[in-house]
Amino acid sequence: MMSFIRKRAFASLISLILLVVAVFFLSRLTGDPAALYLPSEASEEMRRQFREIHGLNDPILVQFGRYVWDLLHLDFGDSVRRARPAFEVVSEAFLWTLQLAVITMTLVTAAAIVVGSLAAFRVGGFFDRIASLTSLIGASAPDFWVAIVAIVVFSVGLGWLPTSGTGSVWHWILPIGVLFIRPFGLIVQVVRGSMINALSSAYVKTARAKGVRTRPIIFVHALRNAMLPVITVIGDQAAALLNGAVVIETIFGFPGVGKLMIDSILQRDFNVVLAAIMITAIAIFIMNLLIDLAYALLDPRIRY
């Protein structure tokens, strides 16, 4: 197990390096930060100076060398836009995103597993149809619709919740509620499908022969067997959240990493982009590692 983690960490490090190198060079193919940072009326002289200050006039390999050198000293460079250390900018935002992702995914996972399993228990039954239909409609509706309608109803109309921003627990309810919907729909469907198979297996029969009650049959016997694809999809959805929930951040003014990343990409604020990608990538790598460990924990037949 430890050796597996060690091997894995090493492989992930290679991926991370690959990612950084790819992002570093690819992003620099996408235009000149000076053109975006400076107003379009700025003179060529100002542009040259800007590039000089930010080291953009050097050959790209020199720039890369410098970047790597700084990185080895744990210096992610400064944000061009914000004139602050990129790492600081990103880590502030990432903490928000992390909280949001963890809370949302915890809720989603719990709810989706319960709903999906119950739906699978009586395939084609009333609960199954209703649960599937509502979760699917929710999951395929554009998120900004849901977000804006939620604001119009719960904030402007009923005055129950603040429209947006951060500060109190109440501020979290709408963003989490909206973010909840798509992963919920998807995971309900995956749980349901996987559970249909699990519930018809022979070991469920054994459990019934043993006189085990329905609830443990569903949530203990069948569920664990059905979890493999489920946790994979949970992981995928969590990764999407860790990459930032752009729409939610935009609409609810949530200071997460998604909008920061998009803005930085569009502004070619490379240091921020790289720092953001590195931090989210590490989080995603760790999550994937945990998921792979979870496979082996869930199913003892799986070997690595």
Partner: protein, 540 residues
Amino acid sequence: MAEPMLQVKNLSVEFHTAAGTVRAVKNVSFDLDRGETLAILGESGSGKSVSSSAIMDLIDMPPGRITSGQIIFEGRDLLKLSASERRKVNGHKIAMIFQDPLSHLNPVYTVGWQIVETMTAHGMSRPQARAEALRLLGRVGIPDPEGSMGKYPHQFSGGQRQRLMIAMALALKPDLLIADEPTTALDVTVQAEVLALLEELQQETGMGVLIITHDLGVVAEIADRVVVMNAGEVVETGDTRQVYRNPAHPYTRKLIGAAPGKGAMHDPLPSAEPVLSVRGARKVYGDFAAVEDVSFDLMAGETLAIVGESGSGKSTVAKMLLRLEEPTGGQALWKGQDLFAMPERQLFALRRDLQMVFQDPTQSLNPRMTVWQLITEGWVIHPGILPRSKWKARAAELLHQVGLKPEMAGRYPHQFSGGQRQRIAIARALALEPELIICDEAVSALDVSVQAQVIELLDGLRKSLGIAFIFIAHDLPVVRDFADHVMVMRKGRVVEAGTVRQIFDNPRQPYTQALLAAGLDPDPDVQAERRAARLAMAAG
């Protein structure tokens, strides 16, 4: 006289399939009293498992349907119980040992947990249940009960799994035990222990036992009465001895007549060049040596039987030969090439020549393929074997040879009985016309008449095509009828090896002797005598 504990009256069960309705059980009636043992004998696929599942309310409904009948247990009709009342009965009052132990154990929980759950589900405290589970594991002869509690089902051998099922079923000392082929995968010594255990419990608690088996020896040993089924119907009921002595129905007669172990033993041909020569094969799981220094030679057209204790590494040897388990050491020369060291690519070319019938037929058949697809798959993979135009005829022939009806070709594995699945697996192996077939308990789930038919078929192929067999079995009479050489294994090692005659007539090792002595005779009288002797020994 009081009401019997269990009365099954006019039970009929139907299954829905794409091809129409299958009437699996037709108007079956029998009853069973407290402390009594009733054996259901019968042809494979005759509805034994389905009837017993009906008692446990474990038939999938739909597609199955109980079209008529009553199952009265302790005065109540089980078919009319509510779900929660049902739960109180299952496991607690009535327990079941399933025919197919691997798929009936939850693969992702430790066996300890699964046994404990039986008890906690009915209100026992966890520590108490744990202690009880440990005791049970010891009673059914699982080595190292403490360590085994934390292992998963796939880490046990076929026979061990069966014993785990038995332990689970006996956990709460039920009033009624339904045992569906509980000893098929057990070697005779362990079988004897298990049967003794059942008997002991029966005496202790007055448990009624409904045992489904095709092994006439087992029937003779423990059954008070017998029900014989054929094609979904009860054809004969009666006292064990009376049925054995005066079978009324032709099917019963056929069954008794087919009991193995009476024919002449083979005399192997003088040694030629071996096709397969295994030297020092070894397999280690963690720090447990499942197979240790196994060596043997196998000639073309010859049958090597591997017998021995359950969990002694027989299946592991087979899987190593096919490289389904990576061997830890040793070599296996197949026509001069080392199977153990061969790269996967090279192995490919040889695959067709080496076939295997797995111990666990349910798991080894792809549930999404029809029988037709299963059988023809080999021909798809190896296009050289048979032109497509002949597939139908040949598939029909194969099915027929293993005692199945060709019109079943469109069905899926889950729609068959345990023995039928095993026959599909045999047909599949034969379809490839290999040079070596490894049969891991390939006929253990078959009733003796079908068994005899299949053995005859295999023997014929051995002679006519020179197919070699490695025949893993615990059923000594069958081994006696079919094998040329016998190898006896225990605790991963070869205890004794020799020709069939040597082993059966002149066993040298105490283990082999014990094994032979533990064999059961189909004749209830003979068996009763032996029993009396045994009891006298134990007393004296």
